[in-house]
Amino acid sequence: MSAPRVGIIAIGQSAFQRRRDDASYPDLVREAVNEALIGAQLELDDIEAIVYSLSPDAMVGIGNAERLGVDAVGGRGKRFLRINTGGATGISSVAAAYYHIAAGACDVVMTAGADKVGECGDSQTVLNKIWDPTYERPLPLGTITMLAMSGIRYADKYGMSEEDMARVVVKNRLHASLNPKAHLRQEVSVDEVMASRYISWPIKLMDCCPQSSGGGAMVLASEKYIKQNRLDAVWITGVGHCSETYYLGDRMGRGFTADHADAYALKHSFDRAYKMAGITDPVKQVDVAELYAPFSNTEYHSIEAAGLADLGGAVAGVNEGRFSIGGAIPVNPSGGVLCTNAIAVTAMIRVAEIALQVSGRAGTHQVKGAKLGIASGNGGDHQFFGTMVVEA
């Protein structure tokens, strides 16, 4: 059966920063909610249900911190639940809100959340605890080392250099300099990235995302509600999720389902979203993309998983400027995760930014004429992937 159309009618996001000592965790959520509601001239009473977007509790240091967020989102007496798929949480939350409406349960649903990664002593210490205590956690794994190991395999398979990684940083920092909401907004050169210190070979400091504080909120509505109230909206036309094995070591060797060099389940997730949206040739049909890539090297396999380049072909594409603002398919015109990462809402911001792009409201980082955009989120140990197609 064909699903009813669901639109995005409101968006709010903080100007992300390293710390926000002026605001508590729920204050940050409320900040994004207020921005979304005021922008769309909505009241909290208009919201029928809430999907709360929050990744690991330990990152904000509050168990089931969604309970503390209930009042920040005006949740009392309403339908309320929380989604967590690690880094993919934000896009999974938008998908969950989408399901509320597509199911016929609600006409207007809000998803919101916030993170204060800067308040967590050391996010890599927390993130080491995502691995199973039996086999993989005893290693000094963190998300940086995990994705450095992906980069090693990608480089071995396709020939990516450290300078190639640096060029992703240069592109995204330039984009972020145009986006007033981004956290790292200072332009950098290839030489500066190359001169930054090694964190986890081949990843250097400037190849890494920052730890950001801030909130995000989006309101979705049914086509009926949007038409009755004559609202401006952009439409979610494709939704996909896919996951892969928990064990990193199973993504290498022989007979694997997924190679840790690539993003196999992300590709399958995009396949599902594209099928739903009727996209058969993403290179021709996609105008703009916001792809979850917290480290420079991972943008390459994400571009390929989205079908915007052949396997191994993204490096040449970035070098040629195809994925820069002004290029054929700008990727991460907001600056992306590389410039802003408030984990609980990072993947939501990917969808929000695409919604802004296809509605022509992205301001100084607007991609001219963008009508169809895609967004993605990655979570767990490169394990849970969510994707979305948004159209004007």
């Binding site: 090693i152 990843i203 070591g249 022989r254 389902t257």
Partner: protein, 150 residues
Amino acid sequence: MELLKRREAWNITYTHALGETASWFFVQIRDNARIYGRRCGKTGRVLVPPRAFSDQTLEPTTDWVEVGPGGRIETFTIVYEEFQNLPPPPYAFGYVMLDGADTAIGGFFKGVDLAEPAKAAEQLKVGTRVITKFAEQRKGDMLDFWFERG
């Protein structure tokens, strides 16, 4: 205005059951310095470290297979930054497909000078042959063994 902060630590310890499969595996490491995998009866893949079931076929694994001690590096990284509660840098670790195994197992790489990143990375590149080394005193865990070039 004066903005206050509060420091909070979480303090819970966990005693995780490892189950029969991992227990047997760790006992072999502890008592005999041998590494075993479990074979998936349906595909023949040998899962190392051993799992009670294959997450590809969702079938229980069927038998034990000894693997290693030689193997090839599947991926690695060299860490130069200090992280709270993780080892002091620099250190190298990654994944090795042991001879006879179809999946890779994690461990530290030792015996490589890590002072110069690019030089060290060349010593550990994907495909490099390594041998498993065992500690003299073994507790039955993942850090009882590591890999060296050879």
